[in-house]
């Protein structure tokens, strides 16, 4: 518990991942090496199908690499999935409660925490709604609250804000940034949205497509707090987008 933590939260070393066999074999990742620093906000950017979700699955320990190693240095990784992936038989509050129950937190405290988490994602009072009674964006926010409830050292987020309107998304950017700063959690954040990556990331890892490789890593030297519509964000976003276009274009998408 009190052991000194290394500065590297995740060591990804020469990782490849194949799916299927024979003629249908697909290589999702090819020799990806990457160190994620402790407490870093890392954004993963890349075209659809380039292997971002696959890489997150490997980091979260849900899947094993075909070659290479993923080392989370004894840290616990939590995951927020691309589809909100709520358990359909539980209410919104019940979903958020599962990770708390799994960690053995007492009932009274659980209820309190669920309330707080729901308020944080702006869904206070909707604890008793079933997932199918919520909109796509609301489900994503419940999923976000559930991810926070895991209190993992490494938080993997797979396009968490994809289905949100701009206003809610901006608010949740602020909220996520604040929680990240206050807790020092390491965030690995997958997105399609270049501006979102620039708004949030310390670094942006650009993946190439088919198979996924690390194409380039951008450092985001813009002081926080940032605004998604500020000139400096827009400027870097343009650079990254140009590079992303090159990558996508090269693979004939």
């Amino acid at each position: 518990m009190t052991a000194v933590r290394s500065d590297t939260a995740v060591r990804i070393d020469g990782v490849s991942r194949f799916f299927g066999a024979g003629a249908a074999r697909v290589q999702a990742l090819d020799n990806v090496s990457l160190d994620v620093r402790s407490g870093e906000f890392l954004c993963l950017l890349g075209a659809s199908g380039c292997g971002k979700s696959t890489l997150l699955g490997l980091i979260a320990g849900l899947d094993a690499p075909s070659a290479g190693t993923v080392d989370t240095t004894g840290r616990r990784a939590g995951m927020m999935f691309q589809d909100s992936a709520l358990l359909p038989w539980l209410t919104a509050g019940g979903n958020i409660e599962v990770p708390l129950r799994l960690r053995g937190i007492r009932r009274g405290e659980r209820r309190e925490r669920v309330e707080r988490l729901l308020a944080m994602v702006r869904l206070a009072g909707l604890a008793d709604k079933r997932p199918h009674e919520l909109s796509g964006g609301m489900r994503q926010r419940v999923s976000l609250a559930r991810a926070f409830a895991q209190e993992a050292d490494i938080l993997c987020m797979d396009e968490p804000f994809g289905a949100l309107d701009a206003m809610t998304r901006d608010l949740l950017h602020d909220e996520l940034e604040r929680i990240w700063r206050e807790t020092g959690v390491t965030v690995i954040f997958v997105t399609h949205d270049v501006r979102e990556a620039v708004r949030l990331g310390d670094r942006i890892v650009l993946l190439s497509s088919r198979p996924g490789r690390v194409a380039e890593i951008f450092d985001v030297d813009i002081e926080r707090p940032r605004r998604i519509d500020s000139a400096r964000v827009a400027e870097l976003a343009t650079t990254v987008t140009t590079r992303l276009r090159e990558e996508v274009g090269r693979h004939g998408h």
């Binding site: 992936a85 038989w89 707080r116 909707l126 929680i179």
Partner: protein
């Protein structure tokens, strides 16, 4: 730095924030947006729902009785061989007043429940074991289905040789009849758990038993419930076959009554016993259906009291005409949606701010 004290302890549920740029009360604005997202549903009065659920059944029953009566009137068989529904029902009604009827029914139901409970325990244990172990699956997986398709009556000669004409003989066959269905329900349920949900459970740290407890078991529930329902049907059938064949002296039962009436050429009595068997079947089926319906409502598999498939079909025509959200018609026996307007995009404008407070 990342500490065990964690994240959610640091969360502050701030109730109202002002957006630094616009000065808008953002929470109020969001609440307005969210209010548009949630369909408000009004339930129809209980009496109306109960009526909607019962009248088709009453109609079907009346039609059946009418057909029966017509056949009797046609004079196809003499009335002492084929009595009309009136006679059979009045015999059934008069039996309700006798102690013998209730003793027989109680014994039959106790046998059914004992056999069923044992079958459920065995079925669940075998089902879980088979679903977890590849070896067991290849070993006994197909035997379970083969066992299920064996007519229960063929077990009786063996059961009688093993247990004589005793309660155990009946129990043996009832359990053999019902357990395979339950086991298969469990096996299929576990096989069809969506892998994504298992990943969700694992990502939250659920392993082994806790993964079953929080993800696998609830995800498999629909199939398990179907297996339980089918298991009951097999249990009830096996029991009736058993009670006709294995008559334990001094133990009155519904099946024994039925057999007695046949031996006395008492067709009215035979029919009264059959009505009893039918009524029990309907009542148990209704209970299963209520459980099934509840589960589907909770999981959003039921739209407005009808299946999602029907709802989608009904909604399409209107959705095209009206554009945007599809209001499902107030058909079925469920609820009538009170649909908020504004189907589409662009809901983020200030006009909705403060819509709900």
């Amino acid at each position: 730095m990342a500490t065990e004290s964690g994240i959610s302890t640091q969360l502050r549920g701030r109730s109202t924030d002002l957006d630094p740029e616009t000065g808008l009360a953002v929470d109020a604005a969001l609440a307005g947006l969210d209010a548009l997202d949630i369909p408000t549903v009004q339930r129809r009065p209980l009496a109306a729902r109960a009526w909607a659920a019962t009248w088709p059944k009453i109609g079907a029953l009346a039609l059946f009785l009418l057909l029966w009566q017509v056949v009797v009137w046609s004079g196809w068989k003499p009335t002492y061989v084929l009595p009309g529904p009136g006679k059979a029902l009045s015999e059934f009604g008069s039996r309700l007043g006798t102690n013998h009827f209730w003793d027989a029914l109680a014994r039959t139901l106790v046998r059914a429940l004992e056999g069923y409970a044992l079958a459920v325990v065995i079925g669940v244990v075998v089902g879980v074991a088979v679903s977890r172990s590849a070896v067991l699956r290849t070993a006994v997986g197909s035997f379970i289905t083969a066992l299920q398709t064996m007519p229960s009556i063929v077990w009786f000669p063996l059961a009688i040789l093993l247990f004589k004409l005793s309660e155990s003989a009946i129990l043996f066959v009832v359990v053999l009849g019902a357990a395979p269905s339950v086991a298969n329900g469990v096996i299929y349920g576990v096989d069809y758990v969506p892998p994504l949900l298992v990943r969700v459970g694992r990502s939250m740290g659920a392993r082994g038993f806790s993964l079953y407890r929080y993800v696998v078991a609830p995800a498999a529930l629909p199939s398990v419930l179907a297996g339980l329902k089918q298991g009951w049907a097999f249990c009830w059938r096996s029991l009736m076959a058993g009670e006709l064949l294995v008559i334990v002296p001094g133990h009155p039962s519904v099946g024994a009554d039925l057999q007695n009436s046949r031996e006395l050429l008492d067709t009215v009595g035979v029919m009264a016993s059959m009505i009893t068997i039918f009524v029990v079947g309907v009542l148990v089926d209704t209970a299963f259906n209520i459980a099934d319906q509840r589960m589907r409502v909770r999981r959003g598999l039921v739209a407005e009291g009808t299946s999602a498939v029907r709802a989608a079909r009904g909604g399409r025509g209107r959705g095209m005409a009206g554009g945007g959200v599809d209001p499902v018609g107030g058909s079925g026996d469920g609820t009538v949606p009170h649909q908020p307007v504004d189907g589409g995009a662009g809901g983020a404008d200030g006009g909705h701010a403060g819509g709900a407070g």
